[in-house]
Subunit: 499 residues, 2 copies
């Protein structure tokens, strides 16, 4: 039975997270519903609610509530994760002086504008001073927050609590060693898919019907969620009973919404699988961005781009979309698994994607340590790109200026995408070991056994375990590169006629 | 130049109202977008944000900010309305002990359930004890808040600031005296409209197109607003640049959405006409429920049910809806102005509506004063109904149990509906005097001159003037019954073949 002081503490925690969930609703609404002229005063509302959350977290009485709860509830495993994660959030907030936070906000505001212009003109020099200043400020953040081995850890910790760069580096190095030759082999493979089969005409309304059908088959509960349209797709888990996906449609590129919705519904299943009894507390929230991404990538790539999946769903797709009636399953399957080195991360395929990330991870760390001058970033980017992917950007707009992250002062976020891909393969292998008939079930359109396994093993625990502990509990091993590489090789070598 | 203490005060006021606008968004979302299972945790979010607003309004530092601002800014006409209205809101809040507020909340929660059951079984006795308890609590509220002549004033003040029952009674009495004979005359009139022309088939999508066309012609800005579907239509003015209307559709009763949207768009124009520079302060908010209702009723009834309006819009309606091609304009015009005494307030027409309200106003005051026992309410209701409208409810479900208001502890709200109808006629007459070609413009589909006049004379002032002062400034006279009765007589006597 949790102590009285814990009850007072957790009541306050719920308030902080309720404010955050309300902020998420305001953001969702802004992307999907807000009339155009409403944006200005929406910004004021967003600023206000963020302030409410901040003041409740950093107020002196929260410190007191937290300390009392820690003293009186120490050792109670039922409440320990909530104490641990709120201590982490509190420390991260109070260690940063308001003046530093405000200077970052001002700098980001200018840097974002500068980045938009710089990318438009492919003019890195115009963005460089902003990047330099942001790196300096972020170094200060890392110093204030503290770290054991290197400053990057303190930044990455915001998105992937407890992760350490050195460990990530080790896994990434192993991936790189095996992945670069695989990508090169695929580049010169004897077989190529016919990508034109992806570009046939698919009416928007029919796409929407297919999306709902597949998301429902995945076990996404539309009584506890929605699917809407926005410029950039996202998933907003306001509560486990109110999870909102968005997508965008291209009538001449079906994969955009098709795999986009599977991706977002993967995130959505995680959110719907959290325990509502722990709503608005860490035990009712997702572990990290990497673990979140493992769920979306598993559904999008390991399920959605598998042949088993389309054995069942392709005839349904063909029934709904006449333009595909004459396209054989194996042509479709090959086309949705097109692999080719490309310049833009967000358009990259399952095989090459992690190389885009590793390049950024490496550059970010070197920039932060001051091992590379900002002015040398474009050349370093292009060199690394060439050595990893075999091609070179023709401009910085297609190179080191392509992502918004740095202009927002976000460093340490990129690796979570690659970690997601790696976690996904390791979890999926464990699921297949636990459910030996999984491919057969998927081939019959039965996706819920996988959802149920994920829910039981991952979703329902919320933040009970940190990512490293979770992956060990679920798969019996720490995160490694082997399952990811095995997945890629066993799938793509036969597909591309390699051996 | 407002003083520094005023600036500190108004910053806090903006926070209070921003919290209220966020609460409105959560409510709008609940009625239009929220997945069904999301309701439970939405209630928690709503409770939280209401608490944020409450704590900022009733906190001791708000009292201090308000007092300082009052001291230092007294006599500054630019800030006086904000001081006046926040003082009123503050006093109303802090005068009520938390224990009383909580007991009302508990009682309402049980009373609402009891009312639903009582109405279902038409069993007033089952609801009576709840009504009795709520009246007792509301008497305590009135005592705490204070009043000069009677307790009802203290309750009505929540919805119609500054209104006094005795004044309202005087106007209502004059209306009643002239309206009861008019209704009786129409009941036995030689001509009757053919209501079947309202029930032809109108596809939902076509209705939606017509609604948007008419709302746009009224000057409703869809770049600063939306139109969605909900069970009960409403208008939510989150900010002047984000105003959301809802409606509902019946494919076999076109007037429901048609006049419903004109009504809500009338509210919406008021919200869009408020000054965004004063957003989240009383100067940027509507005066009262009565003034708000005057805007919706003017557009719905005085414009939307006028012959001038349909001279322009009926051919468009006929072009969109083939089922009306053979229905002559005058048959349509007569049908949308059907007058007949009916039992249910929300279905009442423009002529009989105010009688429904006057009956409730009279009963509420007598109940509150203890002049009538709760057990005698059904008989009193039925007697009054017979004498005002000439018909008698066959059950309490169709009589005194029909409205949800009392079960929610809401007393003093009903009169604002009738005040809205009266204000509407008085404002509309002034508009016609100021714009002599208004009927001709409306007959050409030009509705914006009226919108612009309303904006300039009413909307943009926010709460600068209380309702009684506003009506005097705009029309040169205090609120009276004459314009309302003149409107009804000049329109309905010829229509029904009376003289």
């Amino acid at each position: 039975m949790p102590s009285q002081s814990y009850q007072a503490f957790i009541t306050r925690v719920r308030e902080i997270q309720m404010a955050a969930s309300i902020e998420s609703l305001l953001e969702w609404d802004q992307e999907t519903m807000l009339p155009p002229r409403g944006a200005e005063l929406r910004a004021a509302q967003l600023g206000f609610i963020a302030g409410v959350s901040h003041e409740r977290l950093t107020g002196s009485d929260f410190a007191r509530l937290l300390e009392q709860a820690e003293r009186e509830s120490a050792g109670d495993p039922e409440v320990e994760p909530n104490l641990r994660e709120m201590r982490r959030a509190f420390d991260r907030k109070v260690k940063l002086p308001t003046s530093l936070v405000q200077e970052i906000a001002r700098t980001v505001s200018l840097a974002k504008e500068a980045w938009v212009r710089a990318r438009k003109g492919s003019n890195f020099a115009a963005f460089a001073p902003h990047l330099e200043k942001l790196l300096d400020l972020k170094r200060q953040v890392a110093e204030k927050i503290g770290f054991t081995t290197e400053p990057y850890d303190a930044l990455m910790d915001e998105y992937e609590p407890g992760a350490r760069s050195a460990d990530v580096q080790k896994v990434f190095d192993q991936v790189k060693k095996e992945l670069v030759p695989l990508v090169a082999a695929i580049r010169s493979a004897p077989r190529r898919p016919d990508e034109s089969v992806l570009k046939r005409h698919a009416p928007r309304e029919t796409q929407a019907v297919l999306n709902r059908l597949i998301a429902t088959a995945m076990g996404f509960d539309f009584d506890a969620g929605r699917l809407d349209v926005s410029t950039h797709p996202f998933c907003s888990g306001l509560t486990p009973q109110d999870v909102r996906l968005t997508t965008r449609y291209d009538e001449h590129y079906l994969p955009m919404s098709l795999f986009g919705v599977m991706h977002e519904a993967g995130h959505g299943l995680y959110e719907q699988g959290l325990d509502p009894a722990h709503a608005f507390t860490p035990l009712g929230q997702s572990v990290s961005l990497g673990i979140h991404e493992s769920q979306s990538r598993m559904w999008e790539n390991l399920v959605g781009r598998s042949r088993s999946f389309w054995l069942y769903f392709y005839p349904l797709l063909q029934a709904a979309l006449p333009a595909w009636r004459e396209v054989p399953l194996d042509d479709w399957y090959f086309a949705i698994n097109t692999v080719k080195p490309s310049l833009i991360r967000v358009e990259a395929d399952e095989v090459t994607y992690n190389l885009h990330i590793m390049l950024r991870f490496d550059l970010e760390r070197r920039m932060l340590r001051g091992e590379i001058a900002v002015r040398d970033v474009p050349a370093a980017w292009n060199d690394a790109f060439k050595s990893l992917l075999g091609i070179t950007p023709s401009s910085d707009a297609e190179g080191c200026l392509q992502d918004i992250h740095w202009s927002m002062g976000i460093f340490g976020y990129f690796p979570t995408y690659a970690l997601g891909n790696l976690y996904a393969c390791q979890f999926f292998k464990a699921a297949n070991q636990a459910l030996p008939d999984l491919p057969a079930r998927i081939a019959h359109g039965e996706l819920q056994p996988l959802r149920d396994w994920l829910r039981k093993n991952i979703h329902v625990h919320g933040q009970r375990y940190r990512a490293d502990e979770l992956v060990k509990r679920v798969t019996g091993r720490p995160l490694g590169h082997a399952d990811f590489m095995e997945h890629l090789r066993s799938k793509y070598q036969p597909l591309y006629g390699l051996h």
